[in-house]
């Protein structure tokens, strides 16, 4: 693990020496996120989002556990118990808004983290395992958020659960029994609400486990960096602490400013008004839409409107799952040896198109299921699959990358000669 020049952990205080012998937890922290972990000196603010995602996870767990002390997972009282939290529990309104907007903030951070990976080729060797674990975390996060949204038992909770579990009905033969088994009934009801609550409480801790593996796998090769050139010498790196604790600290402060602005001044802006209506199986809402962070995938699901060899509904479900599963294969679809988009002129152009395409999918997933939105989502969906499965593999075969800097130090200082290096190596 780590580079040979990493600072060794040398506790001086007797207590710390004692601890180090009995339970070397401080050593683990020192080597993982302290002065004992060297990271490339040129990491940009795009490298803040991992730490921010970790912060969001802790935030969700803390607010969630307190909410769970006041919430009642029973279809008869769930809606009123969330309102009890909003009205009667001390600071309950703040907890609930913090948790609901925390989920949105989590997804903003995760999407930026993933797109950082797309642009800088973070999924490429030697970090494939880090990437694969990241996609697993994203899937777990989606499942957690989906089940959490069901808990307040409003109209969108109920109908969202009905539509999403209904997708399993599209699977040939086993679909319908599977759907009934998952829900514990023909439609979402108390049985479904109870198991969703149980799983919604469990999954975040599974995510914690996956995050530990994700970081463990990352610490073997260490972080990549904006040039994509691997670390060569000590002058390419700085210790994580204090350099990146300081930089992440500033990033966290900016994140909290934006998040708290939403929480206190626009707490319902990202939610749907219908979820303030108690669940009613007899009244279908005019537009059933999931939370905003699912919109790209919802747009893909709804884009398949016509049977084509297979039934349209089955295409939609397959495409929706495939649109995320394809990320698992990225390390093997994009074989270009150059990681960073900064040195890949052709790749960079298509990356911009992908970002615009995702923007469209976000917008269209929230739009009504009518023309011209459906046609637009069909074009956007076609590009999505072309991008990952056809364009990326072809670019990586034909592209001529720009020349890479010799080292990270050269990229930062414009020179790799000894004097410049010595003058700027952190005193350690």
């Amino acid at each position: 693990m780590s580079f040979p020049w990493a600072k060794p952990y040398e506790p001086k205080a007797p207590l710390m020496r004692y601890l180090d012998e009995k339970l070397p937890l401080p050593r683990l922290v020192f080597n993982a996120i302290g002065a004992g972990y060297p990271v490339p000196r040129n990491l940009s603010y795009m490298w803040n989002f991992g730490v921010l995602a970790g912060f969001c996870l802790v935030l969700q767990i803390v607010t969630g556990i307190i909410l769970a002390m006041h919430y009642a997972p029973n279809a008869a009282v769930a809606f009123n118990s969330t309102e009890h939290i909003m009205r009667d529990v001390n600071w309950g309104w703040m907890l609930r808004y913090a948790h609901a907007n925390g989920a949105s903030a989590f997804f903003v951070v995760i999407y930026l983290h993933i797109f950082r990976g797309f642009f800088y080729g973070s999924y490429k060797p030697p970090r494939e395992m880090v990437w694969l674990l990241g996609v697993v975390i994203f899937l777990l996060l989606m499942a957690t958020a989906f089940m959490g949204y069901v808990l307040p038992w409003g109209q969108m909770s109920f109908w969202g659960a009905k539509v999403i579990t209904g997708l399993f009905g599209a699977i040939p033969l086993v679909g319908e029994p599977l759907q009934i088994w998952l829900l514990g009934g023909f439609a979402p009801d108390n049985a479904a609400l109870n198991r969703f609550f149980s799983l919604h409480y469990l999954l975040p801790f599974v995510i914690v486990g996956a995050v530990i593996l994700h970081i463990w796998a990352l610490h073997i090769p260490g972080s990549s960096n904006p040039t994509g050139v691997e670390v060569k010498t000590e002058s390419d790196t700085v210790p994580f602490h204090p350099y990146f604790t300081a930089k992440d600290g500033f990033g966290l402060a900016v994140f909290l400013l934006l998040y708290c602005t939403m929480l206190f001044f626009l707490p319902n802006a990202l939610g749907h008004p219908d979820n303030y209506i108690p669940a009613n199986p007899m009244a279908t809402p005019a537009h059933i839409v999931p939370e905003w962070y699912f919109w790209p995938f919802y747009a893909i699901l709804r884009a398949f409107t016509v049977d084509f060899i297979l039934p349209a509904k089955l295409w939609g479900v397959l495409a929706m799952f495939a649109s995320i599963l394809v990320w698992f294969f990225l390390p093997w679809l994009d074989k270009s040896p150059v990681r960073s988009g900064h040195y890949r002129p052709l790749f960079r152009k298509f990356f911009v198109v992908l970002v615009i395409d995702m923007g469209f999918l976000f917008w269209l997933g929230g739009a009504a299921a009518e023309e011209p939105y459906v046609m637009m989502s069909q074009i956007a969906t076609a590009y999505y699959f072309l991008h990952f499965l056809v364009i990326l593999p072809i670019i990586s075969m034909i592209e001529r990358p720009d020349p890479l800097p010799f080292s990270i130090t050269e990229a930062v200082l414009g020179s790799d000669d000894d004097k410049a290096v010595l003058a700027t190596t952190p005193a350690s």
Binding site: R41, F264, L333, Q378, F388, V390
Partner: protein
Amino acid sequence: MIRLIGILVGLGFTSAVLWAFGVGAYTFATEPAEETAEHAFHLHPKDVSFPSDGPFGKFDRRELQRGYQVYKEVCAACHGLHLVAFRDLEALGYSEAQVKAAAAEWTVPGIDPNTGEATTRPGVPTDYFPSPYANDTAARAANNNAIPPDLSLITKARHDGGAYLYSLLTGYSEMPAEMAAEFPEFSTPTGLYFNRYFPNLNLAMPPPLSEGQVTYADGTEATVEQMSKDVSAFLIWAAEPTLEKRLQTGWAVIGFLLFATVLAWFAKQQVWAPLKPKKKA
């Protein structure tokens, strides 16, 4: 190999979705969607603002008291407010004694202490607002088969909450002549009322307010607009009694975070200062 399979899978999804696009585009071009009366004549809420709007929002206690009066004397005949307790009315600026008296004006379900039979009794501050109907069936029977929704969360349960409510209450009208000409088959069945702010233009609530319907204790003139505005403000409060506290807390938090952000910036600058490339001498 993976890339080859990938390209094939990618082309599979692309063809299926482009086929759907082709069929959709053909239908769109050959059978243009028909314009509906609901689409053409539905109106967005009126431009109206409330003292509680925006980051500096505050409740106007006197407005809320007037709105409470409208709710009590008019809307409560058909709409419940089951998430609000009488004790909450203290937030409108009433004293404890006034709240006690206000609660006693309501009749709530109770139990006869001698026989144990269901009966009614005057409300006490810890009671919640009673529902006007025994159950949904009774509500439907009394309202042309529509259920008047509970109003506790109504301003959060509709886009543009307060403005929508105000527009709905002041928005009853005759059907415009050009609409009757354009959509001859559109009609308002008996028992429904035409209102261009309601999504399907016909709703089961008869116009609830008329000029001078309530006599305001503070002497304000009870126009339909005034009553609508007051009751909307009251229902904004009912949907989120903690709104003021939320905004005040928000400013304290943002102030602290601004300070922390500036501090964090300078801390970061200082830590990184020795590493900044020096100009070559």
